[in-house]
Symmetry: C2
Subunit: 330 residues, 2 copies
């Protein structure tokens, strides 16, 4: 059976690479277009700047570390004053492809999202006013905002716009699987391909499909069998108020899933093996053999694409007028 | 008087640029040599890797942020579990030029230093055994250690060696002042030059001299007048046991001092203006006018050199065998 699937997929390749791609439920990641490069450079600095937090210690990159797949690789995050967060931090990689932001979709897009963590007392614990005061006390920032936005006013609107524009560049094309989709049949092994066949034929692609292999719908966690979650995230119903939306979460992207452990909204699945096994049982009522699970895991690892590739940004120094960080409440 | 000094310095330039440099108490930063590039690349990853900490959240770069002058810009650092550190984190930039490491010099060199924070319960709160277990569970690291060191054994010795080799690359040449030293008389302004003259003629160069403009001796903090320090760091005497060494600290480098606020071992001086004013009074018994202090500060800002300039490193992912981070004591 596995052999059969593999070779029928391989047959597809004979036609043309475009055909293969067009027939598959997963699409290659398209290059980003219409990007404002000046905003990106500014947004990159802000993304790495811990002065947007009350303590002066926590930046976006603390929890969405771009050296580690855009996550913190913790079950739940560490916020201001070492507070334990309520939910697993999703990757920012390819987050521009999501239909909405956050597990429950409560932010419409990246710009709407970016203001949240700055003022969240459990995350960066600053306020928009304070963050703007900090930025406005730093002439190099003020100059750059002026160059980028063409006016003197720095408000949270420009800050979130620049961060969102930077995040749009965080797509990860050229994964082995994408190369395979584009017609390079040697880009992944027969073994990995057999995992893809299982992924496709078992029904995983019903929810994990498209460019991001997820990110484009909200689905119940625990369709066939209930999931015993840790924490008390209720999912989409928190946004819609509808009882039918209880425990529906945004289907996470499986792009770079090799890097974004631990898994699920509560971070309780430590390994991909565990996550795949659970998905099979809870979402599809299917118990994979160890061998099948291993093949699917091998396939999922072919979804790791080009990671962010830029110079470590250099932040403009504070001045005597810059509000001081307040790391310790005294 | 200021005019006079300025023009005599300018006269020096007429001879040859080498002559000028040779006559000055401050030397240009020499390019690094005899660097093992493979060790550097490995050390860079380790430097950015929060998995060397118990929580999985704190890396060397958390406290010595290479986007911010190699410091955290906090009075005292935030360590594991948000513990408040006892002393200000010095920059790692140009730290290879120091006669010894730490404010009290208790580590002979960068290699001897690098093991400290990993196992320090107030900083990264891991242990050498745990850190090595983490590394050894990650095949990409194991392979890289083998390539770099030529043998299979990964021990704390190779870890600290690689980190130290990376740190040796963190020198900051080409500051405006170094360009001036090399003969480009337009590299700094007359005003900045007058600050240098004051710095030289008032006696600051007695302690702040050489390649790092400091870092090459231990000196009493509060020579003429006592310093009312916060915290209870006792300085060199903690290492030598000699009473005469009480309150002697390693003279900090003034390279990139514009970026390494706040100042002094307790981080109590928030601005360069404050630090220069205090240095004048406590070390030299001299009260600078506001104008003089401003000129010295302007000079000190010409010591900001080329900042670290490399791609954000990508860390190899953990595996199922990797010991899990323990951010929260439960
Ligand atoms: C203290 C940790 C922490 C910090 C700091 C932090 N985040 Fe997050 N981030 C999270 C967590 C946790 C979530 C998930 C919250 C939820 O879904 O309810 C999240 C969600 C997101 C998402 C949504 C991704 C998705 O697929 O839904 C984006 C985008 C994002 N953060 C970007 C940022 C940016 C930009 C910053 C800085 C301005 C930032 N984050 C700061 C922890 C953090
Ligand atoms: C009915 C929709 C649905 C189906 C079918 C489905 N998933 Fe999921 N998947 C989800 C949702 C929703 C989540 C997030 C659940 C949560 O975090 O609570 C998820 C999470 C995951 C994760 C964890 C990703 C992360 O970053 O946390 C993996 C891996 C995964 N799915 C793989 C699979 C595989 C393999 C299959 C097929 C065996 C599958 N999924 C089938 C909806 C689905
Ligand atoms: C929690 C904060 C923190 C972390 C994490 C940390 N450091 Fe430090 N570092 C400090 C502090 C504070 C000092 C000064 C301690 C002293 O002098 O007693 C210091 C001193 C140093 C020095 C001496 C510099 C000098 O001029 O004397 C070097 C070099 C250094 N650290 C490198 C590292 C490396 C490498 C790592 C990671 C393996 C690291 N640090 C992790 C806070 C930290
Ligand atoms: C007798 C030796 C000595 C003299 C003279 C001296 N310094 Fe210092 N300087 C030190 C020491 C020691 C420290 C560190 C003290 C501490 O942190 O407690 C220091 C610290 C500094 C700092 C803070 C650096 C940092 O990163 O924290 C600045 C700025 C500075 N000196 C500038 C000056 C200037 C300007 C003069 C002349 C007016 C001067 N110094 C004269 C020994 C000296
Ligand atoms: Ca995750
Ligand atoms: Ca400092």
């Amino acid at each position: 059976m596995k052999k059969h699937v593999t070779s029928s997929v391989a047959l597809g390749l004979v036609v043309t690479s475009f055909m293969v791609s067009a027939n598959e439920p997963i699409e290659t990641i398209k290059p980003v277009k219409e990007i404002n490069l000046a905003q990106v450079e500014l947004g990159k600095k802000l993304y790495f700047d811990p002065r947007l937090s009350k303590s002066g210690f926590i930046s976006c990159n603390s929890c969405h570390n771009l050296s580690m797949g855009g996550t913190d690789n913790l079950k739940t995050s560490i916020g201001h004053n070492w507070q334990q967060g309520p939910i697993n931090a999703p990757t920012v990689l390819n987050s521009s492809l999501n239909l909405a932001q956050f597990w429950d979709g409560r932010a419409a897009d990246l710009k709407a999202q970016a203001g949240g963590p700055i003022a969240n007392p459990g995350e960066m614990a600053s306020s928009h006013t304070l963050a703007i005061d900090v930025i406005q006390s730093i002439p190099q920032y003020v100059r750059e905002f002026k160059q980028v936005f063409g006016h003197d006013k720095v408000s949270i609107d420009e800050v979130t716009q620049a961060i969102a524009e930077f995040e749009k560049t965080l797509v990860t094309p050229n994964s082995p699987f994408d190369q395979w989709l584009m017609g390079d049949k040697d880009a992944i092994t027969e073994y990995e391909l057999s995992g893809y066949a299982l992924f496709k034929n078992s029904g995983c692609v019903a929810c994990h499909n498209g460019e991001a292999v997820g990110g484009n719908s909200f689905q119940k966690m625990g369709v066939v069998e209930a999931y015993q979650a840790k924490g008390n995230a209720e999912g989409l119903s928190a946004v819609t108020g509808k009882d039918a939306d209880r425990f529906k979460f945004k289907v996470p992207t499986l792009r770079n899933v090799e890097l974004t452990y631990p898994y699920f909204h509560d971070g309780e699945a430590e390994s991909l093996t565990e996550a795949v096994d659970l998905m099979g049982r809870l979402q599809l009522g299917r118990k994979f053999s160890e061998d099948e699970t291993a093949r699917i895991v091998a396939f999922l690892k072919t979804l790791t694409g080009d990671q962010p590739n830029f110079q470590l940004p250099q932040l403009p120094p504070s001045t005597d007028a810059t509000p001081k960080p307040q790391p310790f409440d005294s």
